[in-house]
Amino acid sequence: MKLADYDPGDFYDELFAGPGQPRPGADLLVRRIDSFPPGELTRRQQAAQAALMQLGVTFNVYGDSQGAERVWPFDILPRIVTAQEWERLERGLKQRIHVLNLFLSDIYGEQKILKDGVIPREVITSAKGFLQPCVGLQPPHGIWCHITGTDLVRDRQGDWFVLEDNLRVPSGVSYVLENRRVMKSTFPQVFQMLPIQPVDDYPSHLLETLLHLVPSYLSDPTVVVLTPGVYNSAYFEHTFLAQQMGVELVEGRDLTVADGYLQMRTTRGLKRVDVIYRRLDDDFVDPLVFRPDSLLGVPGLMEVYRPGRVALANALGTGVADDKVVYAYVPRMVRYYLGEDPIIPNVPTYLCWEEQDRRYVLEHLDQLVVKAANESGGYGMLMGQTATPTERADFAQRIEANPRNYIAQPTLALSRVPTIIGEGFEGRHVDLRPYVLYGKEIYVHPGGLTRVALKKGSLVVNSSQGGGSKDTWVLTQ
């Protein structure tokens, strides 16, 4: 089958405007692929997958008794984003990160937004991610969310929406870099002919972002990446980033608080640590302040963090804005703090704790996606359209029992990208997670992770639920 004969069907397709009509920018790729002799594309697909295996680009699946790592399925047909589209997304993301950061400073400081009644106080106090010990905290330069991986989706019309903000410890950027490395050897000619923005400089930007947190009087600062350890699902990424930045990868047991500073245990004694890129959830960071059963963190960390003797990226407490109820208020935050309209809108969201919304949600469960306010990774979710009546009844009960913990959104007909299935091409739904760094200024990394739901018709793109990934090509013109 020729890619040119691909039928995008009744969805917005990222590569095709209609049957046999590649979008601008995609036509070159389509022609190139259709010029391959039979079997060649399959061969390249397998070679790409083998290369990722060789590189050890794997993720761990929780609850898998084998403890096995898997290679994340990778599809070599890329998603292409035009320069104009990207320009708007970039502005939109900068606006959003700016606002979320203002919100975090406010909420752990004066709480003006609550006093002015823009967000009900109980929404914040009941949010699991709101950390009382962080009230009054003043992170360096007033920056809270240094690294963000915002999830974007498009609907049937091709309009963009923010689905989730992911302000805690977003993962996936290593796949962006490794996928690209593999793609360059998969389609070298296409890369020569298309103006695709490179992605390789992410580690340099990340390191700059982290170094920005060091007080200027420290001439030789120590930056580390803190990982929960080899059994974490994103462990590969932690090692990858530490290696690419040339900094130490540490586990909680390598660290200790001594002489009023955070120190790491080395073969030559203790060494002071100045900045931690932590890939550990807030709850686990310090067992003396948060979860006492955490073996992954460092007892006493908070005590040196608070006076600024060590900097954390992201700051503690950012999870409050990941609460899906708080998410629903982001457009109002944009208007409140900046007096602007959001450049990229939210997905319309029903708040189950509001009487009227709840009634609507319960009556339309078969059309909605229901999400727990504090879960991520595709867990704690009901896809109303495909769920069984029992599952829906179960969720209805959960909503009634704890309305604050649930939101609902219309089932979006996510955009699709042609994907190699067997010997041919079929459309599969995708989302996009661009990575945003906040150091001296806000930087949006050109591209991001395109996750694809490989199961026919599925809208769930998470790696733990049968999702795969694709390279994302952002064009410069």
Binding site: Q243, E248, D254, R265, G300
Partner: protein, 328 residues
């Protein structure tokens, strides 16, 4: 560098070296049994005696004979091979070594060059894949691949890693493991083979000694060092005292000490840590040793003492570098 990281790279190298050694002596033994007319006869008469004679020493070399007997009973070729290559519950089988090596490598990926990581990774997949289909495996080819992968690993380390602390901890692990294995091979063969008076001086005897050299990859190099006949004494001298052969105990200990000094910065002839004293005494003793004295005093006793000292050294490395106590 981080203590945990130093520990991991040390063990990464030890495990890879261990896997290679196991592969080498299992392989040599398989080839050897094919050459033994005695074995063939005994086998056809249904006597397990000679088979045992051939395979049990192999387990003895690992120092885990008791464990083997508990799990498998008497030693047959098939059981010994299974035990030493693919037994997941035996921590020193080739498969377990590779799992442990990779686990260590995974925990320090950011320290290793990408090439080193890839090598460990594909080595691991090679062994995993073979373990999944033991029935239709060409063992000979498999052991060859294992040896080659270990050599490639060492080569890639050599060609891509800076000679910093990480490198030296790795070297220390590799050469300590190698010294230990060479001494065990020598010990077991020497004392299993030599007392069996009926074999001494026969063609079989020579075949056995050649096998011993081969299991330390030493046969060709032994021959080349000056046309010596293969004698028990000559073999012992070569494997213990050679200053040039990279698997001899003396050579290995010299490397261990050299790397240790690079890590601590202590000049030669001096010591600051007990760990330096232990290795310095072991190595300098061999500097001035002659094989006649060693054999007269008892090679077995010497090797016994050496192994105790190597263990003590390993413990001291752990105490000195890996187990820094919190002072908070």
């Amino acid at each position: 560098m981080l203590s945990r990281v130093a520990d991991a790279i040390y063990w990464l190298n030890r495990y890879i070296e261990r896997a290679e050694n196991v592969a080498r002596f299992v392989d040599v033994n398989i080839t050897l049994t094919l050459d033994l007319p005695v074995a063939t006869q005994a086998q056809s008469q249904g006597s397990p005696l000679v088979l045992e004679l051939q395979w049990e020493p192999l387990v003895l070399v690992t120092g885990d004979l008791n464990l083997f007997h508990q799990r498998y009973g008497t030693a047959t070729s098939q059981q010994v091979i299974e035990f030493l290559t693919f037994d997941r519950d035996y921590p020193n089988s080739i498969l377990s070594c590779l799992c442990a090596a990779r686990e260590n490598a995974r925990s320090i990926r950011e320290i290793l060059s990408t090439e080193v990581w890839q090598e460990v990774n594909s080595f691991y997949h090679l062994v995993q894949e073979a373990a999944g289909r033991p029935q239709d495996l060409d063992l000979n080819h498999f052991f060859l691949q294992v040896k080659r992968a270990s050599h490639t690993f060492a080569g890639v380390m050599d060609a891509t890693m800076t000679r910093g602390e990480a490198w030296h901890f790795g070297q220390m692990g590799r050469f300590l493991e190698r010294a230990d294995k060479t001494s065990r091979i020598l010990d077991v063969k020497y004392f299993i083979l030599l007392p069996s008076v009926q074999f001494v001086g026969t063609a079989l005897d020579e075949v056995q000694w050649m096998a011993l050299l081969k299991s330390a990859s030493a046969y060709e190099m032994y021959r080349k060092q000056g046309g010596h006949r293969i004698t028990p004494q000559g073999v012992a001298k070569f494997l213990v005292l050679s200053r040039e052969f990279p698997r001899s105990i003396h050579f290995c200990l010299t490397q261990v000490e050299e790397s240790l000094r690079r890590i601590t910065g202590t000049p030669a002839g001096d010591w600051r840590w007990p760990v330096e004293r232990t290795i310095g005494r072991l190595r300098s003793d061999l500097d001035y040793q002659i094989i006649d004295d060693l054999i007269q005093a008892g090679l077995h006793e010497y090797i016994d003492g050496l192994q105790r000292n190597l263990n003590a050294f390993d413990q001291e490395v752990f105490k000195t570098f890996f187990s820094l106590q919190s002072v908070a």
